[in-house]
């Protein structure tokens, strides 16, 4: 390092000639992904790395889906590695080639919408219910009011009252987005789905219970799509193909652009319900 030879940086010298630039430089230094975005980037990389063996330039045997192997090719070690392994395992949760990236891309606006919509979404229905009541009263205000209609004037006072309650109503509803998945939640999500994934073959029923738990605890979780893929596979392993198909339909309806779409279709194709090896691989399973 030739650190000593480097001239002082502007934010150290606070050069008066460039003083107006300093706040902007400070701000520029702070630029980067939000915590949430960073969590998604890390998870996305882990997911993709776990299925990277089949991608060009990847190491290891093609088709090998062992996350540990993938991690070891990257010389990952130490405590960070255990975290990465967690993420890689999450990547292996769904198996197949996962382009988390496209999904994350789709998710960004959704998340933003999530954050803002509740106020708007709750206000909108209120507005809609108000509208019919309000428009007539508004026109009544300008149009000479026939005597018979004067009885309705109290409604004018009702309307603002209702609006007041409606805005008050948005208050509490705004809370959920604030309680929205924290960056740390992804660890909990991963742990839960990892358990679910591990149960798919030995006990699809337990896997389904765990995915249900995930759906309850992380209603707006980052890994909802992965959860659905696991659930669909568990339903297939259990032999409940119709239920799997129904869930897959719901999946495609909710996530039409999901990167896991291909995986779900492949699962349905690979598991025509009577695939013998899928039964042989589930020795402990007594479902059905």
């Amino acid at each position: 390092m030739t650190h000593e030879q480097d001239p002082p940086r502007l934010l150290q010298t606070r050069d008066a000639e460039l003083s107006e630039l300093l706040p902007g430089l400070q701000r520029a230094r702070a630029q980067g992904p939000s915590d949430e975005q960073l969590a998604r980037i890390c998870a996305g990389v882990a997911v993709r790395a776990s299925s990277a063996q089949s991608e060009p330039g990847a190491q290891g045997e093609p088709g090998a889906m062992n996350p540990t192997r993938s991690a070891s090719t990257a010389r990952v070690s130490g405590t960070g590695a255990t975290k990465l392994l967690k993420l890689l395992l999450a990547g292996a949760l769904i198996g197949g080639t996962a382009f988390y990236g496209t999904r994350a891309l789709n998710r960004v606006p959704a998340d933003r919408a999530d954050r803002q919509v509740p106020a708007a979404a709750t206000a909108a229905p209120e507005a809609a219910t108000q509208a019919p009541a309000q428009t007539p009263t508004a026109s009544q205000a300008q149009v000479p009011v026939p005597v018979e209609l004067r009885d309705e004037t109290p409604r004018v006072e009702h309307a603002p009252a209702r609006r007041a309650t409606s805005t008050a109503g948005t208050g509490p509803r705004r809370a959920p987005p604030a309680a929205e998945a924290q960056p740390n939640d992804i660890d909990a999500e991963l742990a839960l789905l990892k358990r679910a994934r591990a149960e798919v073959r030995p006990s699809p029923a337990r896997a389904l219970a765990l995915t249900a738990e995930h759906a309850t605890r992380f209603a707006h979780g980052t890994l909802a799509e992965e959860r659905e893929v696991i659930a669909i596979e568990a339903l297939l392993v259990r032999g409940t193909r119709a239920a799997a198909q129904a869930r897959a339909r719901a999946f495609f309806a909710s996530y039409p652009a999901s990167a896991h779409g291909r995986r779900v279709r492949a699962l349905l194709d690979e598991n025509p319900g009577a695939r013998p090896d899928s039964w042989r691989q589930t020795p402990g399973e007594v479902s059905r």
Binding site: P7, E20, R27, Q31, Q37, L38, I41, V45, L84
Partner: protein, 178 residues
Amino acid sequence: MPDAPQLEFEPIMREHAAFVWRVLVRHGVVESQLEDVSQDVFLTLHRSLPRFEGRSSLRTFIYGICRRVASNHRQLAVHRREVITDALPEPPPVGDRAGDAFETLADKQSLELVQALVARLPDEQREVFMLYEVDELTMREIAETQGCSQNTLFSRLYAARKALAAELARLRATRRVA
């Protein structure tokens, strides 16, 4: 891969994500694509780490990946005919934006002022300036990334500072005095 450094990957991502983000922004990746392209960068890094010999700093290694990935991304965008970005970011119409930003200098404008003025610098000056003043790379690291001597970089950095100071002086004269 003999003696490949034992590196922990997730902390690496966390440590360098902001740097990657900024470099990608400067290399024309639009905001909506930043998460995805950042993933591409780290995935590439993940694969390349075994080949990383520690001869350069990890940051310069990552910077090289950013540049390649951003460039591929731009080409792919063109091939897909997606209007993600034309090429490198267009320098904004400096007169107005810089002037307005200069006037208010609110938090957000302060960044816009930097962006607007820096956008006017010649490419090689701009990159050195940003890598040094914002990303806080060492001159040696920048020399690795730009493939030129540190002396060249010093002169580029000083030229950039001088040009920016002149620009600010001009703005001061036109906006404040008037």
